[in-house]
């Protein structure tokens, strides 16, 4: 009897994923979206690299960056990637309660990161670096602002999952939904890995001019 039920369950799973590729279309779609987002962030990062040393007036990158502070933000975002995969692993095991806790932890770590970024922007503004001060300011705020917006959207998706879970509508059968949100979240993390290196850690000359 149990074997029959198990076979029915497997048939249901097979029918659910009966696509021309044999892979879930939603997962293919999110990978395609992430591939396109590589082009967006590629454009923003290369624009920053092009202009960061081209300002004729300050403040310059070395005047405003606080590496220890940004390093802590990086650790926070990396930690959020761990909590995200733990949420996915939990829901795949059928542990809905623990999955909800990890999703909430991911959202909180993401909020901490965005809060830190807002504080950093405030400090830079007080030091005289605004969106229109110089080309370094413009390219820096556009790049990191777009990344922060992506994190913000990720937080909204995570909180939606938490609310679905609280309403009993996010069981193990919807683990793929958690996985899709997780892929987006990890992508935001890998973009930050590149930003942290290229924008903050690689030194630049002051006002070299184009």
């Amino acid at each position: 009897m149990a074997t029959v039920e198990h076979a029915d369950e497997r048939r249901l799973v097979a029918e659910e994923h009966a696509t021309s590729t044999g892979l879930p279309n939603t997962k293919l779609a999110i990978w395609l979206f992430l591939a396109s987002d590589c082009l967006l962030f590629g454009a923003l990062i290369s624009t920053y690299v092009l202009y960061r040393g081209a300002s004729t007036t300050g403040p310059y990158p070395n005047d405003v960056f606080d590496i220890p502070y940004t390093s802590v933000s990086s650790f926070v975002l990396l930690a959020s990637s761990l909590t995200m995969v733990l949420a996915l692993a939990a829901i795949q095991r059928g542990d809905v309660g623990r999955s909800r806790i990890w999703l909430l932890a991911t959202a909180l770590l993401g909020t901490t990161f965005v809060g830190g970024q807002v504080y950093e922007f405030t400090v830079f503004h007080d030091e005289g670096l605004t969106l229109t001060t110089n080309v370094f300011g413009t390219s820096f705020y556009v790049l990191t602002g777009f990344h922060g917006t992506h994190v913000g959207i990720g937080i909204l998706m995570l909180l939606t999952l938490v609310s679905l879970s609280l309403g009993g509508r996010l069981g193990p059968e919807r683990a793929e939904t958690v996985e899709l949100v997780g892929l987006y979240w990890h992508f935001v993390d890998i973009v930050w890995i590149v930003i942290f290196t290229v924008v903050y850690l690689i030194p630049t000359g002051n006002g070299a001019g184009p």
Binding site: A14, T21, G22, A35, I190, I193, L201
Partner: protein
């Protein structure tokens, strides 16, 4: 004749691959933290000044690969996902490298 989808098709196995264990995830996260700490440390080491940029790119590549392969499961999932992602990534890297070289960004 109507055909039912087979429950044993390899592509369906690819749709539900084995993912790493919790212990593996934690181990990867610790490595990511250590590499980030190393990045920040070499930033302050004057002795490594001439090696700073290559080392930073190397560390960044290690972190990027660890997250993509383990946390995003590309090491375990169908290669179709890898092809999709690499298409965008390679396109972006090539396109913008050409742009930066055109503007002689690395000349100085």
């Amino acid at each position: 004749m109507a055909t039912e989808p087979s429950v044993e098709r390899p592509e369906q196995i690819a749709a539900h691959p084995r993912h790493p264990s919790t212990r593996e995830y934690v181990r990867i996260a610790i490595v990511l933290g250590v590499v980030t700490a190393a990045e920040v440390a070499i930033y302050y080491l004057e002795a490594l000044e001439s090696w700073l940029i290559p080392l930073l790119f190397l560390f960044s590549l290690i972190k990027f690969s660890l997250v993509v392969l383990w946390f995003m499961h590309l090491k375990f999932d169908s290669r179709t996902y890898s092809r999709f992602f690499l298409m965008g990534l390679a396109g972006a890297v090539t396109l913008y490298l050409v742009v930066l070289l055109t503007f002689r960004t690395f000349a100085s």
